[in-house]
């Protein structure tokens, strides 16, 4: 191997290789730190989101509980029941209804919080509804809507005498997905009926999909279990019409973490989202809604600093490589050129060209060597000249 090649390799070994190794380790460390930080941040945001939704629903549930104990509601349930029993299209019912209608108007019409308000008898008859949709005057145990979430919540409240939040499902009378909160009405310690509200979707959407702190690409996605699939329940950032439409099977990678969430598990990791893109995600289960939640940010966004650093390092490394190569080349020339000259000169001298001299301008030891060689050649030349003349002057006989 030529000296120049060896020198080049040596330079690489002692300068570029350790540097590359060190930069690589540093980059790895940085990426690991960033990943851990991102996962921690996402977990914190997911916990906060859970608290946010829980407290929103908890407040609504408490309000419903308070209304179920409201004097107006407790007074109405007996009167309404009697008037309704006589066929609800009578004057007595209309009077009772007008009072309640006015009472709830400010909550239903003027705020987006509630969409509708209901009163049910202990036997499941819907005897009052603010909106008078097709669910009014049906029976939740035996009627058309006995399979609805309102009916489920009614039965659960009747079995436990506790306020209950229903599941979230498409509701035929409203022709929209919706959520109910119901509470038993107790009058003098006796179970006299059930009070229910239908939540408006707008506020729920706003609370659920609020992406504060989730960066540019982040969002919170929600889904419920539907047989062997998950069904997304809220609009998604990259698929606005996903609510109650987008589904995914158990085996599909893109809903893997959502499946874990609806199964009651929580966790955080680098996963694939519903678009099939890599994301940093944290997932939780929401018992109030029986939903899973995935809070996520695109991995590209999270790791952007690492990519940037990687490019920077790669560029620097390339530059360094070039620089080191040039330096190595320069130094190897400094050595190899005079050596080659010396070798050539020695060759010439060996061939008998005694006039030949090596270049003495090389630095350091090589210069020394060249001078030594030249003085050796000088001496050899002198010696050889003396030999020649001695031979010439010798008697020839």
């Amino acid at each position: 191997m030529k000296i120049s090649t060896r020198l080049l390799l040596l330079f690489m070994l002692v300068s570029v290789l350790p540097l590359a190794l060190f930069s690589y380790l540093n980059l790895q460390q940085h990426e690991a730190t960033l990943r851990a930080e991102a996962l921690e941040r996402l977990s914190g945001l997911a916990d906060k989101k859970v608290v946010q939704i829980r407290s929103y629903l908890g407040e609504r549930e408490r309000e419903v509980g308070i209304w179920a104990r409201d004097q107006q509601v407790m007074d109405s349930i007996a009167g309404m029941q009697k008037a309704y029993a006589a066929g609800w299209r009578n004057a007595a019912y209309a009077r009772e209804e007008a009072v309640l209608h006015q009472y709830f108007e400010r909550y239903v019409e003027e705020s987006e919080m509630f969409y509708d308000v209901f009163l049910m008898t202990p036997q499941g008859e819907v005897i009052y509804s603010q909106k008078h949709e097709s669910d009014f005057a049906t029976n939740l145990l035996t009627g058309t809507y006995r399979e609805s979430q309102l009916a489920w919540a009614f039965r659960a409240a009747r079995m436990t005498l506790e306020p209950v939040i229903s599941g979230y499902e498409y509701y035929i009378p409203t022709q929209a997905p919706t959520l109910f909160i119901v509470a038993p009405i107790m009058v003098d310690g006796q179970f006299r009926g059930v009070f229910a509200v239908q939540l408006g979707n707008e506020l729920l959407y706003r609370v659920a999909t609020d992406a504060t702190g989730l960066g540019m690409s982040g969002e919170a996605a929600f889904a419920k279990r539907d047989g062997d699939e998950v069904l997304y329940t809220m609009p998604l950032k990259y698929q606005a019409d996903a609510a109650m439409k987008l589904r995914g099977g158990r085996q599909e990678l893109r809903v893997g973490q959502m499946f874990a969430a609806v199964s009651g598990e929580s966790g955080a990791g680098i996963k694939t989202d519903y678009r099939g893109k890599p994301v940093v995600a944290a997932w939780r289960f929401l018992p109030e809604l029986d939903w899973g939640m995935v809070v996520k940010i695109d991995a590209d966004e999270v790791f952007a600093p690492v990519y940037q650093q990687r490019m920077l390092l790669l560029g620097a490394l390339l530059g360094l490589l070039l620089f080191a190569g040039l330096v190595a080349y320069y130094f190897s020339r400094q050595i190899s050129v005079p050596l080659e000259g010396l070798a050539r000169a020695a060759d010439e001298v060996a061939k008998g060209n005694m006039d030949n001299r090596a270049d003495e301008t090389a630095y350091g030891e090589l210069g020394l060597f060249a001078r030594a060689f030249n003085s050796m050649a000088e001496n050899l030349q002198g010696l050889s000249a003396r030999w020649k003349s001695a031979l010439r002057s010798a008697p020839t006989n």
């Binding site: 977990s43 916990d47 859970v50 608290v51 829980r54 908890g58 509980g65 489920w152 659960a156 009747r158 079995m159 436990t160 005498l161 506790e162 306020p163 209950v164 939040i165 599941g167 509470a183 038993p184 107790m186 310690g189 006796q190 179970f191 199964s263 009651g264 598990e265 929580s266 939780r284 289960f285 018992p287 109030e288 029986d290």
Partner: protein, 417 residues
Amino acid sequence: MVDHKMKSSSNSGRVNQVLVVAVTVALLYVIWLSLGYIQNKPAIKIGVLHSLTGTMAASETPLVDAVRLAVEEVNQSGGVNGAQIEMIVADCRSDANYCALQAEKFITQDKVQALFGCWTSACRKAVKPVVEKHSHLLFYPVQYEGLEQSPDIIYTGAAPNQQLIPMAIWALQQRGKRAYLIGSDYVFPRTANQIVKKLLKAQDGQLLAERYVPLGEQNLNEIVRDIAAQRPDFVLNTLNGDSNLHFFRALQQAGIRAADIPVFSTSIAEAELAAIGAELMTGHYAAWNYFQSVDSDENRAFIKRFRSRFGQERVLDDPMEAAYIGVRLWVNALRSAGTLEMSTVKIVLAQQTLAAPEGIVAVDADTRHLWKPVRIGRVNADGQFDIVWQSGRSMAPAPFPFFIPYAERTSIARGVP
């Protein structure tokens, strides 16, 4: 010339030696570094408080196995942040005050990180002040009468709205309005029956009688004669411990069949059923969150793991499952908290959810009880329960029943009149 060659070869030999030493040192350094990294941490201790002797032994002994299964599984899967869990078991001897002393010893002498235990409410009420005094942590695995919560207790069994109340309402709906209450004479049955009496009033039910016998009482013939005479639509049974065996035996001897007067029990699960004998209990009812007969992958796997560890003949039941998930919830909280610091652990614990054998459970941050599915089961001839009603999804815990006005609740909680 020869001399020079010798010199250079001995020179390169020395270089080689230096190289070998350097590489060895570097290797040792790397090993030392990685050893420091995976250094063994000291074990995390937990204290298990259950009665292994006395009237509660048959019920409580299996709970220790359930906790042990959970601990072993955790240790096999790498422990908690590199540390193993070590469980210490104390025999509470079916004596609440003795149990409180053991709890104190666990906390102050053994320095445990959490307590798992108690069955009776008497035990819990005795241990509670000890746990609260030290701001420690207790997992209580049995359904109870409610009207209680503590910042330092995680209740992994049912609140009244997750067992007692739906069971009583179901009985009223399915069997009729005339109820007969029988229970052991201590805090749980007395308080539970206060709630049941409010419930009877709420649902137009009728109370025929409310009878109590001391824990461990064996002579229930007089009460059974009274039941036979009054012929209630159903009996609501809050007896605990061995008295149940004598009660059901007396019922059978008196010729009372489950089809005529079904008994709805709060404290008879598969373990008690095995002790009493299914033939005495067939057709009677119990309400729990977990039955061994729950049809789910999680449950089948749970049963398989438990039996391969403790024997194929063993049964599983609700309090055992509740004891098991208590450990799992705690471990999950420790893992995600990454610390043993008690207040942090409690905050993280309040956010835990778990795919449990019974279904999805979740800690309710406000009450530190669990969201749980509710089920009512009827005993079949195989000593298992056929599930006759279930809530379908996990229900929020309500230790303070909504339907009882605040003032009445506090008067019940303060003491039974």
